[in-house]
């Protein structure tokens, strides 16, 4: 079985491009060109150079001794938190801005939840001198205020999304509406492995640099390119897609995906899509989706803005239904505790999104010589206020 996209844009039963005709020309233009652009030597050279000199790649693979000791395994942290702008999101925005330039686009729009993707987009727009508009849910603007200010400092316009739950889903709706209204000179930089084909595949390829590096870094440190586990949090699923990418076809490597349980899966306040969702269509792809019996998308909830989304990328829906990936969920409370624990044990304050991934360590029935790679997708600077409010440290 393949876990990558097929020529029709599907991952098993999931994916496709369910978009209104108004978006078709743009998405089709991208579909026809993205592979040849990405694979061209000229593109790769510029992409790699920016990842190295601007983003600061390769990011370290750090063996976390005290965490390893506590959980009884060899635990390695892939330090995406050390990327410029503080999260893995920038790998994708660097790729997509180069793509936008080659498609002749002049303006950039994006949606953002935690604000990390918004900041990463505003950053590359500043770098390339392109106009940037970021849609962000009103609630997220409050809980991720520092990122709102960062975007503004970088010269981006931040537009509040005031419909629905006023979070990531609604910001995505607004970004799509903007694109419908401005089809010719604008590129939409989607921030995760969601959206109509080819977005999930394109974003996964840009993020694949994460597992590409893990392979050689792990070999240097352990003698083997393949760990026993790769663990990542899943909002839309881009950091997970990047961390899994080069291990998808290697069944020995267990892929652990961690969703936001919110106040608990049965509490009505959760974003654990694989537990609560079923197949449906949102934002251009068929995927697992939290929805009512009538097919209305339900409002998700998570303490972390970046995981507060009612769907997951189609690639992950396929990993889940095929059994290739194991999906776990973690409550707000457990994620916060895991974040504090990582801070105390390793001196690293993680983004609350990333903290979710750490909270499953005690559920993996690990053996001493198991090698676990956790994708530390971002740093916690943006979340200080949430940590402070939570207060239990």
């Amino acid at each position: 079985m393949s876990y990558l996209v097929d020529e029709k844009g599907y991952y098993g039963a999931f994916g496709g491009a369910y978009i209104p005709e108004m978006l078709y020309p743009n998405v089709e233009e991208l579909r026809q060109n993205y592979l040849s652009i990405m694979e061209s030597e000229e593109f790769q050279e510029e992409f790699r150079q920016l990842l190295r000199d601007y983003v600061g790649r390769p990011t370290p693979l750090f063996e976390a001794q005290r965490l390893s000791e506590k959980y009884g395994a060899r635990i390695f942290l892939k330090r995406e938190d050390l990327c410029h702008t503080g999260a893995h999101k920038v790998n994708n925005t660097v790729g997509q801005i180069l793509m936008a330039q080659r498609l002749g686009k002049k303006k950039i729009i994006a949606e953002t939840g935690a604000g990390q993707h918004g900041v990463a987009t505003a950053t590359v727009c500043a770098l390339m001198g392109m106009e940037c508009i970021v849609y962000m849910g009103e609630i997220d603007m409050e809980r991720q205020r520092p990122n709102v200010e960062r975007m503004k400092i970088l010269g981006a316009q931040v537009v509040p999304a005031t419909s629905g739950s006023k979070t990531l889903k609604d910001a995505t709706n607004e970004a799509m509406r903007h694109w419908i209204n401005n089809p010719s000179d604008t590129h939409y930089i989607i921030g995760s492995v969601v959206g109509p084909h080819p977005y999930p595949d394109m974003v996964a390829r840009f993020q694949a640099v994460i597992s590409e590096e893990i392979r050689w870094q792990l070999e240097k440190q352990t003698g083997s390119q393949a760990p026993d586990y790769v663990v990542a949090c899943v909002g839309g699923g881009s950091n997970a897609a990047g961390a899994y990418y080069h291990y998808l076809e290697d069944p020995e490597v267990k892929l652990i995906a961690v969703e936001a349980g919110g106040l608990g899966v049965d509490s009505g306040k959760s974003a654990a899509t694989t537990r609560l969702g079923r197949s449906g269509v949102l934002h251009g792809s068929k995927t697992l989706l939290m929805q009512t019996e009538d097919g209305q998308v339900t409002e998700p909830y998570s303490i972390s803005a970046g995981l507060d989304y009612p769907g997951i990328g189609p690639m992950h829906a396929h990993l889940f239904t095929s059994g290739r990936g194991e999906f776990l969920d973690v409550t707000d409370e457990d994620a916060m505790k895991a974040g504090i624990e990582l801070s105390r044990l390793e001196g690293i304050i993680p983004a609350i999104e990333s903290a979710h991934a750490f909270a499953v360590l005690d559920r993996l029935s690990l053996e001493r010589d198991d090698v676990v790679v956790i994708n530390l997708s971002g740093r916690g600077d943006k979340d200080l206020e949430t940590y402070i409010k939570w207060g239990k440290y």
Partner: protein, 266 residues
């Protein structure tokens, strides 16, 4: 024989029998009140509309502007759903004879079950469907047969950015009408058409498509309606009508007046 076949569908009959200046009116099911849907349809028929488009509300209507978004939200709050809509339309054909089209996003239809949905549409006397986020390739592969079996016309959208090749492909794969979106935009009433839009209308008209064209998005008054009718068989009005529905205190009087003003009959 073939003519008879075609004419079984009210959409085909309308375009065969009536001339130009057709007016199709969109409104959202369950808006403004949960039980208003059939009454509005009746009033539209009485007032002289030619096609009725009933929107099936969705939580995330990405192709719609603020007015229709708000009506979707209100309708959902009022408890509208596909099940409720279809059961409300069950005796529709005892009350109205105009062609009726249901318009909505694909997800609620998928969850209801495509076969069940289409079969109940047929029973109610629905003539066509507009599902903007159902891609053509998917439609042809998985849905067309079901739609055809139940006598439902699938209406495709075209926009100023749609390539000639794709327009031809759309024209070859439908036999109801083509919904010509007047500009690169989400739904919403605007004032007047630009020269660029008129050039686009002219470009499409000169393609001499087999299917009749209706122009929609941004039609708000008599002047945009009649301008659209210089290039197409008719026009579709949505947001402006939704606005009327949210303001009116006397539906019967105001819907009559609205249609009369749009059509410019005195």
């Amino acid at each position: 024989m073939e003519t008879q076949e075609l004419d079984k569908n009210r959409i085909n009959r309308l375009f065969r029998e009536k001339g130009n200046d057709l007016l199709s009116v969109y409104y959202t099911a369950g808006f403004p009140g949960p039980e208003d849907t059939m009454e509005i349809a009746r009033l539209l028929e009485e007032a002289g509309a030619d096609i009725i488009e009933i929107g099936m509300p969705f939580s995330d209507p990405v192709a719609d502007g603020p007015t229709i978004q708000a009506s979707n939200n209100q309708a959902l709050k009022n408890g509208m759903s596909i099940a409720r809509l279809l059961s409300g339309l069950r005796n529709m054909r005892e009350q109205i004879s105009l062609p009726v089209i249901l318009m909505g996003y694909i997800n609620p239809v998928l969850q209801y079950g495509v076969e069940k949905f289409c079969s109940e549409c047929e029973q109610a006397g629905v003539d066509g469907l507009i599902l903007p986020d159902l891609p053509m390739a998917e439609y042809l592969q998985e849905y067309k047969q079901i739609f055809d079996n139940h006598g439902l016309k699938n209406v495709f959208l075209i926009t100023p950015q749609t390539s000639e090749e794709r327009i031809r492909q759309i024209d070859d794969n439908t036999d109801g009408f083509i919904y010509m979106v007047s500009s690169a935009a989400t739904t919403g009433a605007k004032k007047g058409f630009s020269d660029e839009q008129l050039e686009y209308f002219e470009r499409i008209r000169s393609m001499q498509l087999q299917n009749p064209l209706l122009i929609g998005f941004g039609i708000s008054d008599h002047s945009t309606y009649s301008k659209a009718n210089e290039y197409a068989r008719g026009a579709i009005i949505g947001s402006a009508f939704i606005r009327l529905l949210s303001e009116t205190e006397d539906k019967e009087r105001d819907i009559k007046k609205f249609i009369k003003e749009i059509k410019g009959r005195s």
